[in-house]
Amino acid sequence: MAAVTVEPSAAVAAARRRRPSFWAVFWLVMAALYFLVPLYSMVQFSLEVAPHRYGFHWYAQIFADPLFRSSFLLSLRLAIETMLIGLVLMVPTVYWVHLRLPKLRPVMDMVAILPFVVPPVALVVGLSGVFTVAPWLLGSSQILALVYVILALPFTYRSLDAGMRAIDVRTLTEAAQSVGAPWWKTLFFVIMPNIRTAMLGAAFLTLAIVMGEYTISSLLLFNTFAVYIYYIGNTEAYQAAALAIISFVLTWGAMMGLFFLSRRTGAAGPAGVAVTR
């Protein structure tokens, strides 16, 4: 029987490649401690029912609070509405800019960062003009979704722009048109499946922004999840820690959901190439 041998030099080189250096491990541990120590402290604090006695008492109180459920569901509904409005508005826009108006891209880049420049307070003041034109929005939480679309614009635009850059939009569009596809079928069946990861990224960032947005909802007197977190933070220290952990788990869950969704659907990679199934 022929024996398989490995050249000693090759084996040593491979072992060297596998063994991480001391400094690599050191910085990795430092970074992990930076994030994990506060998290651990918060978890411990949120579980402390009495000195040296632990349990889920504060978590149970949070979940039993009807205000928690209503504020969480309101924020979740607003997040979904914002995602849908943002994608419906921005996917065709970014597509057309890439396809027909590439010279407009620098202008789009500039417009997309405007929400960073305009303070939320100024946005709220600006809304008074909207209420005079569309008075039915006064008191309706829908106004928040419209404002959040603007807040999320930099992230939605950047994510979709990166997705479109990774594929050859023009050639794919022309290839689809040459076999008879009108523009909307090209967008739905050819372009969107190939920027799926970018769309999911935009949706997730929107979710994260809306779930954590406080200033505008507070100024417009809506009890969103962030307003509820602030209220609990001011009144109940233990419940605030538990709420922070719940919020963290929900965010983490959404991120994992995005990760598995993009893997399961074989979304387009950076080079616009489908992931092997």
């Binding site: 594929i167 050859d168 050639t171 794919l172 022309e174 290839a175 689809a176 048109q177 040459s178 076999v179 008879g180 596809a181 009108p182 079928k185 069946f189 050819v190 499946p193 190939n194 074989g266 387009a268 616009g272 190439v273 489908a274 092997t276 199934r277």
Partner: protein, 355 residues
């Protein structure tokens, strides 16, 4: 099968004129190539036919119907692109089915047609592969199948082989020709590769700076170029300034060396002409040491050899300047650099043009 006609097509991009009144007819089932260097307007012409560009002027007709303003997706023209253009989210088969799917064909029909076409391009076994799992040549075959699936009136090919390596390029161009002949589909092919154009086309259209230089069958384009541009772009030419010496001879170079000509040029004695000689029309005979060339021969010295396979291209130093000659490699090997040779020019390979 459809007849395609371009009537005075003009295209301007700002101040740049890409096409200056291009007129061309492509008959039913004909394979016509647009050949020219980069920037000559050949791709613009193809994109106008496909409907991706609007002409500034002129008309485009398919079967005598004006389609100049018909959108690309309603023209029924299949196109294969230079860049790999398969949809990355679809398998080879789904790519081929796509055109039928958007037209509302039922699943059985789509399946049957896609299988048929993948069989035609020799990729049945790879129907379920994604584009990134296929080689460049295979991707272009699938793109061809996708373009043919909709039974297009005209097949358009925009330098489909330029991204492929040499061997695959030759295989695929032969395959494109086989399929085109088998289906009898009217085809417009764009390339900058003269060998490609001459080998697959029924007719070749040579273009330069937005203008049509010459249209003809490949052999005619090669043997009888009508402009200095065509002569130099298609194949290799020895080019000299000369003057007419009589009905059967011209003089070239500062020495006034006489070259025999056959063609009835109808020019007066002393009239300046451009003399073009194909390298394969230059014959060589080795001169014995110290011997003078016999009558009709011009003396030259071998400068260098370029081995091209069956043929070897030789650079020669002659009284009229540097000449290029193509010789069978077996013969060329006996004439090493420095060898004195006598040059005999075949009059049938000499072409005269107005300077």
């Amino acid at each position: 099968m459809a007849k395609l006609e371009l009537r005075g097509i003009r295209k301007e991009f700002g101040e740049v004129t890409a096409l200056e009144g291009l007129s061309l007819e492509v008959g039913s089932g004909e394979f016509v190539s647009l050949l020219g260097p980069s920037g000559c307007g050949k791709t613009t012409a193809l994109r106008i036919v496909a409907g991706f560009e609007r002409p500034t002027g002129g008309e485009l007709l398919v079967n005598d119907q004006d389609v100049t303003h018909v959108p690309a997706n309603r023209r029924n023209m299949g196109m294969v692109f230079q860049a790999y253009s398969l949809f990355p989210n679809m398998t080879a088969k789904q790519n081929v089915e796509f055109g039928l799917r958007v037209r509302g064909a039922d699943r059985a029909e789509r399946h049957r047609r896609a299988s048929e076409l993948l069989e035609l391009v020799g990729l049945s076994a790879r129907a379920d592969r994604y584009p990134h799992q296929l080689s460049g040549g295979q991707q272009q075959r699938v793109a061809l199948a996708r373009a043919l699936a909709i039974q297009p009136a005209v097949l358009l090919l925009d330098e489909p082989l330029s991204a492929l390596d040499a061997k695959v390029r030759v295989q695929l161009r032969e395959e494109i020709k086989r399929i085109q002949t088998q289906l009898g589909i009217t085809t417009l092919y764009v390339t900058h590769d003269q060998e490609e154009a001459l080998s697959v086309s029924d007719r070749v259209v040579v273009m330069s700076e937005g203008r049509l230089e010459q249209v003809g069958v490949p052999a005619d384009i090669y043997r009888n170029p009508r402009t200095p541009f065509v002569a130099e772009f298609v194949g290799t030419m020895n080019r000299f300034d000369g003057r007419v010496e009589g009905p059967d001879a011209v003089a070239i170079g500062s020495t006034g060396t006489r070259i025999p000509v056959l063609e009835p040029h109808g020019r007066g004695v002393g009239e300046p002409v451009l003399v073009l000689i194909r390298p394969e029309s230059v014959g060589l005979e080795e001169l014995p040491n110290g011997a003078a060339p016999a009558g009709g021969l011009m003396e030259a010295t071998v400068l260098l050899h370029t081995f091209l396979g069956a043929v070897t291209r030789m650079g020669l130093e002659s009284p009229v300047g540097t000449l290029i000659a193509d010789l069978p490699s077996v013969r060329a090997l006996t004439l090493s650099p420095g060898t004195r040779v006598g040059i005999r020019i075949d009059p049938s390979g000499v072409r005269l043009l107005s300077p």
